[in-house]
Symmetry: C2
Subunit: 196 residues, 2 copies
């Protein structure tokens, strides 16, 4: 029920979306595959990528570094593919600055109680890690004012449907549709433009 789950379901519904793959210094969990879920890198390698400007955004979360390789992102965007980034508020604000056309969705739990329950039910966390994650979640909430959309994560199905509506609606914004093209070209009235 975390935002990563929502992202995976959204990707299944939309074939013009590619999932971003982050580089991270965090050790892999049992089910995670290197090069698919993350690029698992050493601290030294991550430092090098940061220093050489290879990351579109990076963040330090729960004791580990996460970052998105810029070259891969720009390749997708140049091919007309949108990229779905599963990132926290630190990474999110960097992406908003670096890519002004990006769309931001803040995922929130239905209530604080449910957030606590969900973190507890993951089971793999110690009480100390749980407390750290809860404090983190509340600290991140203040960033909500920087985001354009808010989706309450009540059920996976409903939340994914909402995220999908946002993605589809954003593709219909006039400033995206008429980017570098006039309405005359769109209607096939100008031969020097796009043909109808």
């Amino acid at each position: 029920m975390g935002k990563t789950t929502l992202c995976h379901h959204l990707l299944e519904k939309d074939d013009q979306l590619a999932f971003s793959i982050s580089a991270t210094t965090r050790p892999p969990r049992a089910t995670e595959v290197d090069g698919k879920d993350y690029f698992f890198v050493s601290q030294d390698e991550f430092e090098r990528m940061k220093k050489e400007g290879e990351l579109a955004e990076w963040a330090y979360v729960h004791g580990h570094y996460y970052g998105t390789p810029k070259r891969w992102m720009d390749e997708q965007l140049n091919r007309g593919i949108s990229i779905l980034l599963d990132i926290d508020v630190q990474g999110g604000t960097q992406i908003m600055r670096a890519y002004p056309g990006s769309v931001s969705i803040f995922i929130i739990p239905p209530s604080f109680k449910i957030l606590e329950e969900r973190l507890r039910n993951r089971g793999s966390e110690t009480e100390e890690v749980l407390r750290l994650r809860l404090e983190n979640a509340l600290g991140e909430m203040d960033y909500i004012t920087k985001y354009t959309y808010v989706v309450v994560n009540d059920t996976v199905g409903a939340a994914v449907e909402k995220m999908h509506s946002i993605v589809r609606a954003e593709r219909l914004r006039r400033d995206r549709i008429l980017e570098g093209i006039t309405w005359r070209q769109l209607l096939g009235l100008d031969e020097r433009g796009v043909k109808s």
Copy 2:
């Protein structure tokens, strides 16, 4: 295949939307019902409504007056119901000014050729009326830059699905969700706010 058809299909899909009913001086078509499709009023009555500020917007289109009664609109909005307005660019720009939170969608045909064919296939128009409508449609296109969204009216199903995505996405905007409420209230952390 006109925008009125799209509006009727959208209303069927979304039960939080009410269709606006316009007052008009245009004579009813065979299938139109007074008080349901329009309020059919005399020129004098329309002038009175305009003069007494009873109209949220009004326009003069194809030789007739059209206007939306303001009181009915505000009643719906106060009940949390969104209103779908099937209006032209004159009315649209008035609504954008009067209701800054309104959402604007510009419906365009896939091409100028198809627009001409569609107007011709309506059958009920004389050649002169057809020419007038075509000129009107092109003149209206310049207003596209005032609109937030553009939906190409290729097939009814696809266009309605796009409009529905826009309506659903707009309800998820952070500025609407956190209007007069903090995220602490939204999460049930502040007892003086909304209860979770």
